[in-house]
């Protein structure tokens, strides 16, 4: 075990914690940006990531092994040194990329067989090999190779994958050469079946790992199933260890999962949506490509303190997005700042005993008409957070005026929960 996890505050299932890793001491809940082609977040430097407030970033094992190769990284002192990132790193097992990027992947008991994209030769990624690569890379947290199956698939494959994941975790543990400086997280599989999920949770908890991830979600399942799996897993996983929901995601999903007791998240969404010209704002998403943006002299988000919102208007960003790489860069910067602020808000609101107020405020701004989705209602009930007054429509002409670009903050002060 190479981490310490201390819960500093709670609200029902939600927790604010301090996660001490070899390279950095983090505050949870937290969002982890994803690096591609190695670990660089497209368009941003490590200095900028630090300024933004990123605490942990994901390195992509598959890409790193392909180029420059994990052995080279190890020879040069590990990925932290290689990319000049002082804070924490997490690497995935490489399995997901293989399954999602390569069309002819075949999963057997031995491992994942696939065609090398370099020369077409058959290659095999075993649990041992995955851990070996991740040991070379040197991240603070490494992920077990799991047999990942999309939740949209049904049938015996899900059960097979869940049991195989448990057999593979033992092979991962045996292969792990640096447990004193790298934390191996197990991944709970089992599709949408509560029985399978329960078996998997108990199996992994028995292995006494430093932390646990909830995998196999964020792949197209309906939201109602999604939150139930998260709720079930967080209820069964140990209190005193971090819980990581893989592939999540949208700010709303992160708020809900945090209310249900999860601590860590990763997703390509904020950076990918930036490259398509969309900025994350408290109300949802601002599409900079829209014609209306060409004359809009406001920043993306007047309440955002990031470098982009302090310097740039929507009008200027509109002329950049999808035409100039600078547009992607600036939007990625803003979107990651947004996610870092969301993480901070979650941590602080739980710590300071105002988590329900934060959740209500968040939902009111995202759903000013009061149309909070049913699945969020259901999840919040289990989380023990009363969101009833976010679900009645406000009486003011908020939407119409907002669309016209009129600043109505002086006419329409935000309502406060009693």
């Amino acid at each position: 075990m190479a981490l310490r996890f201390e819960v500093l505050g709670r609200f029902n299932r939600a927790r604010a914690a301090r996660l001490t890793l070899p390279h950095f001491t983090c505050q949870t809940p937290l969002f982890m940006p994803v690096g591609t082609q190695g670990s660089t977040i497209k368009g941003l430097t490590t200095d900028q990531l630090e300024t933004i407030g990123c605490q942990i970033i994901l390195g992509n094992t598959y890409h790193l092994e392909l180029r420059p190769g994990s052995q080279l990284i190890d020879d040069l002192g590990g990925l932290h040194k290689f990319m000049n990132w002082k804070r924490a790193l997490l690497t995935d097992s490489g399995g997901f990329q293989m399954v999602s990027l390569l069309h002819l992947a075949d999963i057997t008991e031995e491992g994942v067989t696939f065609q090398s994209p370099v020369d077409g030769k058959p290659m095999l990624l075993t649990p041992e090999e995955s851990i070996n690569i991740q040991n070379n890379i040197g991240a603070d947290i490494i992920m077990a190779l799991d047999d990942v199956v999309k939740t949209t698939i049904t049938g015996p494959r899900i059960e097979e994958a869940m049991y195989r994941t448990l057999r593979w975790i033992d092979r991962c543990i045996a292969a792990h050469k640096k447990p004193d400086v790298q934390n191996l997280f197990g991944i709970v599989q089992g599709g949408l079946d509560p029985v399978l999920r329960d078996i998997c949770v108990r199996g992994l908890v028995e292995r006494n790992l430093p932390g646990y991830a909830i995998g196999g979600l964020a792949g197209g399942e309906d939201k109602d199933s999604f939150w139930r799996v998260v709720a079930q897993c967080t209820a069964g996983l140990p209190e005193d260890k971090p819980r990581y929901v893989m592939g999540v995601g949208y700010p709303l999903d992160i708020v809900v999962c945090s209310a249900l007791g999860a601590d860590m998240y990763d997703c390509v969404y904020p950076t990918r949506t930036a490259r398509f010209g969309s900025a994350l704002v408290p109300e949802g998403v601002l599409k900079l490509k829209q014609n209306a943006m060409a004359t809009d002299e406001r920043p993306i988000d007047p309440s955002c303190p990031c470098m982009v919102c302090k310097n740039y208007t929507r009008a200027y960003l509109h002329c950049l997005v999808t035409k100039d790489p600078m547009g992607s860069q600036l939007l990625s910067y803003h979107n990651l700042s947004f996610m870092a602020r969301l993480s901070r808000d979650l941590h602080m609101s739980i710590l300071e005993g105002r988590f329900p107020e934060f959740v209500r405020g968040f939902l009111r701004v995202q759903f000013p008409k009061g149309d909070v989705p049913k699945w969020v209602h259901n999840a919040m009930e289990v989380a023990g957070i009363d969101i009833s007054e976010c679900c009645t429509p406000t009486n003011c002409q908020h939407d119409a005026m907002e669309a016209a670009g009129v600043d109505i903050s002086e006419f329409c002060p935000p309502t406060r929960c009693p």
């Binding site: 060409a294 004359t295 310097n311 002329c319 600078m326």
Partner: protein, 265 residues
């Protein structure tokens, strides 16, 4: 804008060191202007730009034609011009109409009304009035006048026409300028003809400009030609005003840079 030559090379060489002062920023010359796309250097947002050496990295070359479609002029003015729009209040922004990657001069389509450019928004004809509208809302620190830059292989007649148009457009731009040319850089063209180059340089020097933009290079002339052409031009320019030359190629071509230094730029 203030410019002063601080030191001249001895023994007849023309190279000189100088100091360019704009607002509170001062840059020693010879200096390099960083090229930009829509006002920002490629991949360098303002927070990264500030980590480059100062004050040298304060000089940016901005192309007004990058903004020919969006944002609208009124929006740019409302925002407060280039410096505010780009988030670079302390930088020295020098505007010139054509540049080597995004806004190539398209001399075939240029006519007596305006200069044509291949812009990211397609081919555009820019008249002096269009250009000065952009300049007045962008408010760069210095701006080069609209010019007819032609490749080295055009015939004598076309080359002569390019000089006539460039001078006419210079006068038109100054006339349309609220500051009557106080921050202008007169553009010198003339292609590969020493005679035309000298003629243009002499004529431009007579106008009320703050400095000179030596254009028409990087359009097919040979490296050897360049030196004699530049020499001819600088011979006709007043010593006390700054001279900018564009599109000379990679800094790695050391022997050619050396010549240019000698030519007094």
């Amino acid at each position: 804008m203030r410019f002063a030559v601080t030191k001249v090379c001895a023994s007849g060489a023309k190279a000189r060191a100088g100091l360019l002062q704009i607002g509170s920023s001062g840059v020693e010359t010879p200096a390099l202007l960083l090229s930009t796309r829509k006002g920002l250097p490629a991949f360098m947002s303002p927070d990264l730009l500030s980590s480059l050496p100062l004050p040298d990295s304060l000089l940016l070359n901005v192309c007004p034609t990058h903004f020919i479609e969006v944002p609208p002029s009124k929006t740019i003015s409302n925002i407060g011009g280039l410096h505010r729009m780009l988030g670079l209040p302390d930088h020295i922004l020098v505007a010139a109409a054509g540049e080597s990657t995004e806004c190539l001069p398209s001399s075939d389509a240029t006519n007596k009304f305006g200069a044509s450019f291949e812009t990211p928004a397609g081919r555009k004809l820019v008249k002096p009035s269009d250009y000065m509208e952009l300049i007045s809302c962008l408010q760069p620190n210095l701006w080069a006048s609209l010019a007819d830059e032609v490749p080295a292989w055009v015939n004598e007649k076309r080359n002569k026409t390019s000089v006539e148009r460039t001078l006419r457009w210079l006068d038109a731009c100054i006339a349309l300028d609220a500051a009557s040319g106080r921050n202008s850089l007169g553009v010198v063209v003339g292609g590969s003809s020493i005679e035309q180059r000298k003629l243009c340089a002499t004529e431009v020097s007579k106008r009320n400009v703050s400095g000179f933009w030596i254009g028409g290079f990087g359009l097919g002339e040979s490296v050897e030609e360049r030196c004699s052409l530049l020499n001819a031009v600088t011979d006709c320019l007043p010593l006390e005003k700054p001279r900018i030359v564009s599109r000379l190629g990679l800094p790695g071509a050391c022997d050619t840079s050396f010549f240019f230094l000698e030519d007094g730029l």
